[in-house]
Subunit: 481 residues, 2 copies
Amino acid sequence: MDWKPAPRSPRTLQAQIAGWIAERIECGDWAAGTRLPSQREFAARLGVNRSTVQNALDELKAGGLLETRRGSGVYVSGSAWNALLARSQPNWQRHIRASVHKPNRHTIRLINDSEPDPSFIRLGTGELSPDLLPVRELEASLRDLRLDARSIGYSEPLGSLRLRRALCTKLETLGIRAQPDNVCIVSGALQALQLIAVGLLEEGSTVFHEPVSYLNSVHPFQSAGMRMRPFRPDDKPLKEKLERSVRGRQSLLYTVPTLNNPTGRSWNESERRGVYEACSELRIPIIEDDVYRDLLFAPGIPPIKSLDNSGQAVYLGSLSKSLSPGLRIGWIVAPSPAAARLADVKMQTDYGSSAFSQEIAAHWLESGLYDRNAERLRGELRLRANSVEETLRETFEELADWKSPEGGFYIWLKFRDPIVDKGFFRRLLDRKILINPGYIYAPDDLHHIRLSYAYASREEMGIGLAALREEAERACLRRRG
Amino acid sequence: MDWKPAPRSPRTLQAQIAGWIAERIECGDWAAGTRLPSQREFAARLGVNRSTVQNALDELKAGGLLETRRGSGVYVSGSAWNALLARSQPNWQRHIRASVHKPNRHTIRLINDSEPDPSFIRLGTGELSPDLLPVRELEASLRDLRLDARSIGYSEPLGSLRLRRALCTKLETLGIRAQPDNVCIVSGALQALQLIAVGLLEEGSTVFHEPVSYLNSVHPFQSAGMRMRPFRPDDKPLKEKLERSVRGRQSLLYTVPTLNNPTGRSWNESERRGVYEACSELRIPIIEDDVYRDLLFAPGIPPIKSLDNSGQAVYLGSLSKSLSPGLRIGWIVAPSPAAARLADVKMQTDYGSSAFSQEIAAHWLESGLYDRNAERLRGELRLRANSVEETLRETFEELADWKSPEGGFYIWLKFRDPIVDKGFFRRLLDRKILINPGYIYAPDDLHHIRLSYAYASREEMGIGLAALREEAERACLRRRG
C-alpha cells in the first residue's frame, strides 16, 4: 500500500481515499470478503487523521461497497454490484485487452482521467478551447429555431431529413454527390466507426490503417475483434501489399487523408488516387474520416469520396471540431443499403441522435452561420499556430523538428532523441502538464508528441512549452550520459 | 418471383422495384454475380412498363449494386459494400437470431417499417401523439437557455452536473437518495440497458424478466448473449425459484413495476418488497425501469429503489415518455462505481449525450416547466383513456376484457378467443391498421394486443377500433367454424 492521497489536490482527502478504495475493489484487487486494515493502521499508512479514514469508510459502507462485521472489523462486502464489477468486463473490451499495447492503454487512461481537472495544462487536447466555441452565437441562434412536433418525436432511422438535405448541399461543394438516403446522422465520428465495426464487419476482419493512427488511441475496431494491419499511401506496390494481408477475409481501409490526426499531414492527389484505385480493384471499402477539413487554412485537395463513382468509399464528417463537440453531430455518407444498415444498428443502440442538436445543426448549415464560424475559427487557429511556432523556433530549434501546420489543431513535434517514453509522460504529468505522447498513436514511437494549439491559452502554452523543453533537455542529457 | 409493386402505394413503382431488388441483394437472396432477368421479362413478371424497370435498374447501377456486362445483361455486382452487406451481420445480432422467436422478429420489423408511413393508423405505438408534445413551450424555453463554453464542450463521462443535480432533487421526491455521482445521463432507457449488458454482464449471464415483457420486443440483453428466464413477483417461493436458475452465474432481474409495458399493471407494495428481499438475499441486482411513473393518474407506490439501502437496485428514468423523445435524455441511478463503469462505456461509444439536450432538460426540471407539462399530459392522457374505454365498452364488451388504465399509454386488451396471431396482424396491416400484438411481448400469447391511447387521434382511433372489431369478429367466427 504505497499510495497516499495528494495534499494539494482539488479533491478532499476523504474523497481521494474513498475513490482509491473503490478503485481497488472495482479492479478486483480487493475481492469480496477482504478485511481492511484497522482505522488506526490505515490512517498511519496514509498519513492522515483517523477521522478522515472513518468518514471515507462510512461513505463506502453507505454505498454498499464495505460492510462492518460486528467485533471483527470492516470488510469488502459481497454485494451484488461488487460481484458484477469485479467479475464482468465489458465484452467489447475483451479484444482490446488482448490487442492493445499496455503502456498505450495506461497512458490514455491517465490522460482521460486528468483532462477534466482544471489544474492541468493540456498541451495535446484534440478539442477547441472554450474561448474558441461560438457560445453567444449558439445561444442567440436558439431563438431562431422553429420546432415542429414531427421533428421532436422519435427520429427517422437515418436522422432528420432537413439536416441530411443541408449536408447534401454542403457535400456538393466538396465534389461529393449524395442524396439524403446516402446520409446517416450519428453522434460524432467515433460512433460512426463503432456502427461500422458492429454493423458491417465480422470478427477477424482486416482493418488497414496508417502506421501512425488515431485508431491506436481509440479502439472501435480492435474492440470488435478486427485484425489491424498497417499501410502507407506511398507503399509500392500498394495493391499487392494490401492483397497479401486480406487473404479472402473481409476488410476495409481507414484513413484521415486531410489534416491527419495526429500528424497533421494531408495526402497529395496521386496518393489519394492510388489508394482509391488499389482499393477499388481489390474491392476493399474505404472509410475516409474527414472531420478536420473545414479547418484547412487554404483550400485543400478534394476528398477521396469525390473520386468515387462506384460506392467504394464511405465518408465521415462531424461538427465536433468545427462548431461544438457538445452537439454530438456527425454524419456517414455511404451507398444507401450500407447507410440503412448502419442507421438500423444506431436505432437499436440509442434510437437516434438528439432532435434538438439536429435542428440546431441544420439551422447553422442552412443559414450560413456554420460557414462564417468556420472561417473565424480558421483565422483564430492560424494565429494560435503561428504563436506556438514562434515559441518552438525560439526554444526548440536544437531539440526538435516539425512542419508548419496547414490547418486543424496539431503540430506533430518530433524530438531528435528518442526521449518520449512513459517516464517522460509521467514527469510532465507530475508537473501538471498533460501531453499526448506519440506512442499512443504508434506503439513504438519514442520521438513525437501531438502538440495541439487549439486548447491551451497563450499563457498556459508558454508555461507548458517551457516545462516541456526543460524535461526534454534533461532527458537528452540523461541519454547522452 | 411472386412479388409485385403496389399500384396505390405512396412510393413510385420505380422506387418500389429498386427497393425490392436492393433488399434481395442485401439479404443475400441474390448473390454477387447473379444475372437478372431481361428488362422485357422483368417488366412482364412485375406487370409494369419496361421503362420503369429500366429506370429502377439504372438507379441501382449508379449506386454500385448492379453492373452491366457488355452483351450479356445486368448482374448483381461484386462491389465492396455488396460483399460486406451480404456476408456480415451485426455481431450483436448473432445471439438474437438464435434466441428470439421468429414471428416476433418479423412482426417487429414490419411495425418499425410501417410506423413512419403516415397512411397507417397506429393503434399500439408507445409514443406521445405529436399534438401532445409541448412544441411551442419547448421552442419558447430555448430563449431562456444560457449556455457556457464548458457545457457545450465534450461532456464529463457521467453527463452534465447541472442536470444530475436537478435529477437528484427530483429523485428525492420519490424517496430515492442519490448524489450526482450516482447518476449517469444516457440517451434514453434503451441505451441504459445496452450499457448494462455490455458493461456489467458477461455472456451467458442470466436475466430474469416477467413472462410478458418489453424485453421480448427490444433485445439489449439477448443480443449480448444473456440467458433470459421468466419470474413473477407473486411466484412462491420466489427466492428458491430464482436461486435454481442462477446456478452460480452472474445474473440480474429486470422489471417495470410501475405502469408496466405492455400490461399497464403496477406491483403492490408487498410484491415490491418481496422481490427486493429475495434479490437482496441472493445478491441479484435489480434493474428498475420506471420511465412511465410521471404519467400515473394518481400518486403511486414508491419505487423499489426507495427501499434500497445497500445499492441493490439500479433505477432508470427518461424524458421520452413524459416530455419529448427527441431530447434523447434518460438516466441511470446506481452505486457510484457501477455508474462510473457505465459512463466509461458510454464515453467509448458516443462521447456522451447532446449538451444542448442536457441543458434543455435541466432547465425544464429546475424551472418547474417539466412538472407542469407532466400534469397537463396526465390530464390529456386520462381523457384519451376514457374515450377509448367508452368505445371499448360499447363495441368490444362481447369480445374482450381489459382493466381501466391507471396511467401511462396502454390498455392490455385481452380477446376471449386466441385470435391474435400473425394472420390477424397481417389482415389489419393490409387495411393500414398497425397493432402491437401480444406475441411480441410474450411469444405464446394469442389473446392480447397492446392498445395505446397516446398516439392515434380520436378519429383514427374510431376507424382503427372499428376495423379491429370487424377482424376480431371474423376471426372468432372462423375459429368457431
